[in-house]
């Protein structure tokens, strides 16, 4: 038990379980199944973008990708446009989304590397361009996803939402990459001390580039799934995911100082973030109160988790 508590990811799961218990207690447990289903569905999108953000944040202080919302919007918009509601085009749409991810990630890193812009500025500025391209290509049309794809995105297998299964699969891939692969070691080394990593023979620029491309590819996949899930792309569909992607990383126990990442924690935190909002909703809190309380709860969790780690 002691060993489990001391793991940084346990906090986000503990918080998620607690919030879940409080919320379902209000409905005498009758809505518990539906609540869990909704949390898994909506949490999946936050988890997918959170995994990407985590990889970038692991690179160390100053590394963050603020273009996630714009990339999600652009990928959702272009993928749906390419598919044009035609049946059997789901893979084409996915291909478009991945290409959008590769392109935006390469552009972001080009700005960071060639122009030596701080990542915050580079990704924020680039996101204006991506958002504009999305607006220009969308032109107010709302294209529906192909029926098969929409069914998949809202469907379930063995009672678990399909999007959650995709999110889980992606989390496993990221976990293997970080914990078992040479690339993961290189990433963690670069995040601890970039200069020392370079002098130890780590190809640090390749590592940084791949991190910035991975985050946009994951954001694109999330955008593609979200657009299919909600029946079409909207220009503000990525909006919530800017703060969300960073919050799930921090609550999940990944170190902002770099060099330490935490895959299970991201999933726990994604569930927690959804559950907090639905808990406050079910207690009838208004929008303003809800946001204040959400903020305070996040701060509390981060403090609790970090003091625990400091004592260790």
């Amino acid at each position: 038990m002691e060993k489990i508590i001391s793991r940084p990811w346990s906090w986000s799961w503990l918080a998620a379980a607690l919030t879940f218990a409080i919320t379902s207690a209000l409905t005498d447990g009758s809505g518990a199944g539906a609540l869990a289903y909704a949390a898994l569905s909506f949490g999946a999108f936050a988890a997918i973008v959170g995994l990407g953000q985590m990889i970038v944040i692991t690179l160390g202080p100053g590394n963050v990708d603020l273009s996630i919302p714009a990339v999600m919007t652009l990928s959702g918009t272009l993928a749906l446009k390419a598919m044009g509601s035609e049946p059997g085009t789901a893979m084409l749409g996915l291909g478009v989304a991945v290409l959008v991810g590769l392109g935006t990630g390469a552009a972001n890193f080009a700005l960071i590397y060639a122009l030596r812009l701080p990542p915050i500025v580079a990704t924020l500025a680039a996101s204006l361009v991506y958002q504009s391209i999305a607006i220009w290509s969308n032109r107010g049309l709302r294209i529906k996803p192909p029926a098969g794809l929409a069914d998949f995105a809202t469907g379930r297998v063995l009672g678990v939402p399909n999007v959650a299964l995709v999110g889980l699969a992606l989390a496993i891939v990221v976990w293997i990459a970080l914990e078992r692969s040479v690339w993961g070691r290189w990433l963690l080394a670069s995040g601890q001390n970039l200069r020392a990593a370079r002098l130890a023979g780590v190809p640090v620029e390749t590592v940084r580039a791949s991190a910035y491309v991975t985050v946009t590819v994951l954001a694109s996949v999330a955008g593609y799934l979200l657009a299919s899930f909600s029946g079409g792309a909207a220009l503000n569909m990525g909006q919530d995911y800017l703060l969300m992607s960073i919050a799930v990383v921090v609550i999940g126990g990944t170190s902002i100082a770099g060099g330490l990442s935490n895959v299970p924690g991201v999933w726990g935190a994604a569930l927690f973030m959804f559950l907090v909002v639905s808990m406050l909703n079910s207690y009838g809190a208004g929008a303003g109160v809800r946001m204040v309380l959400t903020g305070l709860i996040i701060i509390g969790i981060v403090i609790a988790a970090s003091t625990k780690r400091a004592r260790k």
Binding site: I176, R180, S181, V182, W183, R185, W186, L188, A189, Q192, N193, R195, A196, A197, R198, L199, A200, G201, V202, P203, V204, E205, T206, G259, L260
Partner: protein, 479 residues
Amino acid sequence: MQQSAFEQDAPIVALTDVAKHFGAVRALDGVDLEIRPGECLGLVGHNGAGKSTLVNVVNGGVAPTAGAVAFPASGAAAALSAGVRSVFQELSLCPNLTVAENLRISHAALKGPGWRRAARAEIGQSLDAVFPGHGIEADATVDILSIAERQMVEIAIGFADRGAEARLVILDEPTSSLDAGIAEQLMAHIRRFCEGGGAVIFISHMLGEIFAVASRILVMKDGKVVADRAAPDFTRQGLVDAMGHVAGDATHERGDQTRSLGEEVVHTPQGLSARRGEVVGLSGLAGHGQARALAQLYLGTTSSWRATGRPQMVFVAGDRTRDGILPLWSILRNASISILSETAKWGLVDREVETRNAEKWKRRIGIRTDDMNNPVLSLSGGNQQKVLFARALASSAPVVVMDDPMRGVDVGTKQDVYAMIRAEAASGRTFLWYSTETEEVCQCDRVFVFRNGRISAELTGAELTEERILEASFEMQEA
């Protein structure tokens, strides 16, 4: 210096049966120690013998597990108010602040308008007193200073007024990054300071320095004091024996002179070159471009974009915290980072090879830990340096670049590493080795002496003597 401020006979600090345990590790195991005004205590022992822990107990940095620490001379309860100052081997200045601002951190009385002027004057005075002709600006930010200059600033802060008199200054390996001339100035200042009634604890792995400055020598081994006598009662050999390591006096035994070397494998526009199987030394006064030449060579040869299966060159850092250690990781992961691309299967880390590598190097280079999965920061400074050696030597790279890698490494380990370097060179590896210790450089096959960022001399064979190196370091004009 006010002689009257010291009560002549009361010790400045008195330790009674002090012990400090870190988990199962007994870093200190029952130490009694008194230091009186006017004494210069030389503290020697291997890496991990407990020297750093002992000084941390004296300066209040760690609380002892058992035993008592008292400051009878001043009657103070805490080390700081008793006038105990520490200068650490790990450089602890804030790199983004100026020299004067760094003084302010340990001198809380400097405040109000104009504190910067007072700080500038104080640090300037102290630098002038310890290192006449130092050439360090009080307004320079620390990150533009060389590692030797930083160490000088740190020493000067240790001896500075800071509102209350320094009674006991602890110097932990102060000379390891200083060249001979600067170290000599420090020695002279320590003697003056002790004559004036101050006391010094001086830790060094260079026995010559200990004999030059210490009035009393304390030898530590495995957390215990094994010898504590006046300095003249020790001989060099006796001291080494007391430390419990057999170090041959064969420092000048160079490898087989007639050994044929291979083709040239390194050549820089600056004129630095090395052949296969050669040990090439870089020497000269500290901060004259040796470290930069090596960094340029390494960064120019290897790529930030591509990692080949077999690296062309590996680097052993001397500035551990800046260039070497990955602080969040275990010893094992630190030791294996440079061999990952060679041993990986399908891009995945082969953890069996990794564990075998760690065990092999733990044995070969004697890393003092019971488990290689312990965090690397649980090791003492010298042992961390061994991990960096292991990291480089474990790879199959044909060229090894070493940037003053022996800082904080004890005499016994140095001998082991020298032997290892000779053996590796004999099997065809090339070493480029920058060292601030002339004695070390004299073991190389060939030496380039640097002055003002340029190579001022290339010495081989019989020309390779300490005198010639010093000559080339100081020469004012090209002949």
